[in-house]
Amino acid sequence: MSEQQPPKTIATINFKGGVGKTTVTWCLGDLISTYGDANTLLFDLDAQMSLTQAITLNEDGSRFRKFSEWSERSEKKGKTIFKAIEEYTSGKKFDFGINHDFIYSITDKYHFIPAIEDLYWLELNVFDQQKMQGFIRDLLGKITWSKNVPDYRYALFDCPPSFTLLSYSVLSVCDLILIPVNPDFYAVKGVPLILNTLQMRIEPFPIPKIAVFMNKAKPYAGGMTKESQFYWREVQRVCAQASKQAGLKVKCLEAPIYDRAAIKRAVTTGGVPSDFVPDFKRLWDEITTFLYAK
């Protein structure tokens, strides 16, 4: 009997809103499941449900029938992530069944656990915080051993732009934290904030590898504009300091994702636009090289 391997886990997070967490997370999952042979599981952990709503909506703004029907059925059967948290923190045995009422199939290889509005309750600390710490770890364990769903090579998490109990649960177990930044002062200023917070909040657990990349870079003549380059150098300064002085493993990925309207619409239009697949492939190659490096 072959040993089940848990998926490699990547959490996309930044406390600054609008940096493109949701779009990038979705695009990376779409890329590796479409252009690779990896089964990929995508989690929307943000109570704002941006990713879930984007997947629900077609480009014309109408609801995608297949997903909305699945979603209603899933809620009726109590197969939502919120119900899983309730059961996990109730003190009883965690016996939450994993199947396709809980996990939605976007494609054969790309599967999705949507957010639900009830996740707002997490902000009110109604759950036992200590118990919540192990939730994602144990849920991934159940998913790994379930015969009802495929073996996932990657689990991607779209985290909320704040430190909720759920994001804490993810960050204390994930293999890689992916931080998108934008070429502007406020976005760069957010990088030391998040690095500091990550260290403070994840301790005493080992801090995962952290990768930072430039998202929404302004394009010029086949590269970034000088202004984007300036902010990228500032990001590198900040990360180098954090790596050296706080002992964090922070890698600045050299592959930028450019600011393009077609990328912003990628979730609702059904895939990474073909023109930008090479950019996302370069980014993914850098992510995995860092992820698997000893």
Binding site: T89, Q130, F185, K189, Q199, F230, E234, R237, A246
Partner: protein, 174 residues
């Protein structure tokens, strides 16, 4: 009750009338300018309209520095400003030839090599230095905080004292 607002068709008519009035004023102004120019030419036969002023730096040499050298110049400006504030910045940047200041501003994403004035370039570089120093000050705080024992970190109990205080007594209940 009739609406207080003009209907779209009425608004369209009003805008069309305003455009027509503007066009008439514009044509009158152009005609007046033409007449003035004719009178000037008659009085001063040697007169010719002033040629546009050449854009700043268009005739100047460009800096021969590479991007790496310019980035290194920026670092030295950072150090000078950190140590000497505005005076330090002014003193350090005044050592740079104008062409290098413009090239540095361009390297930092401000203006273009051909059209940016030295004054504008200098202000742009100052802005970037200020931004970088503000980011540095956060970095310093971060590192100091990271080195200190952290009262907010989850300890063996997994809950910080502040969070314990915030927790409702019924924590764990649904």
């Amino acid at each position: 009750m009739p609406s207080d607002f003009i209907p779209p068709s009425g608004e369209l008519q009003r805008v069309a009338e305003e455009i027509s009035l503007l066009r008439r004023d514009f044509q009158a102004a152009v005609a007046s300018l033409g007449r003035m120019e004719k009178r000037l030419k008659a009085s001063f036969p040697a007169y010719s309209p002033k040629k546009p002023v050449k854009k700043a730096n268009s005739g100047q040499l460009q800096s021969g520095k590479t991007a790496d050298q310019l980035n290194s110049d920026f670092d030295s400006l950072l150090v000078a400003t950190k140590e000497g504030g505005d005076v330090g910045f002014e003193s350090a940047i005044s050592d740079f030839p104008d062409t290098d200041v413009i090239a540095l501003a361009h390297q930092l994403g401000i203006g273009s090599l051909k059209t940016t004035s030295t004054k504008k370039a200098r202000e742009g570089v100052r802005k970037r230095v200020q931004e970088s120093l503000m980011l540095s000050s956060t970095r310093k705080k971060t590192v100091e905080q990271a080195d200190e024992p952290n009262p907010h970190a989850f300890g063996t109990s997994g809950i910080s004292p502040a969070e314990q205080a915030r927790m409702p007594e019924t924590s764990g209940d649904r």
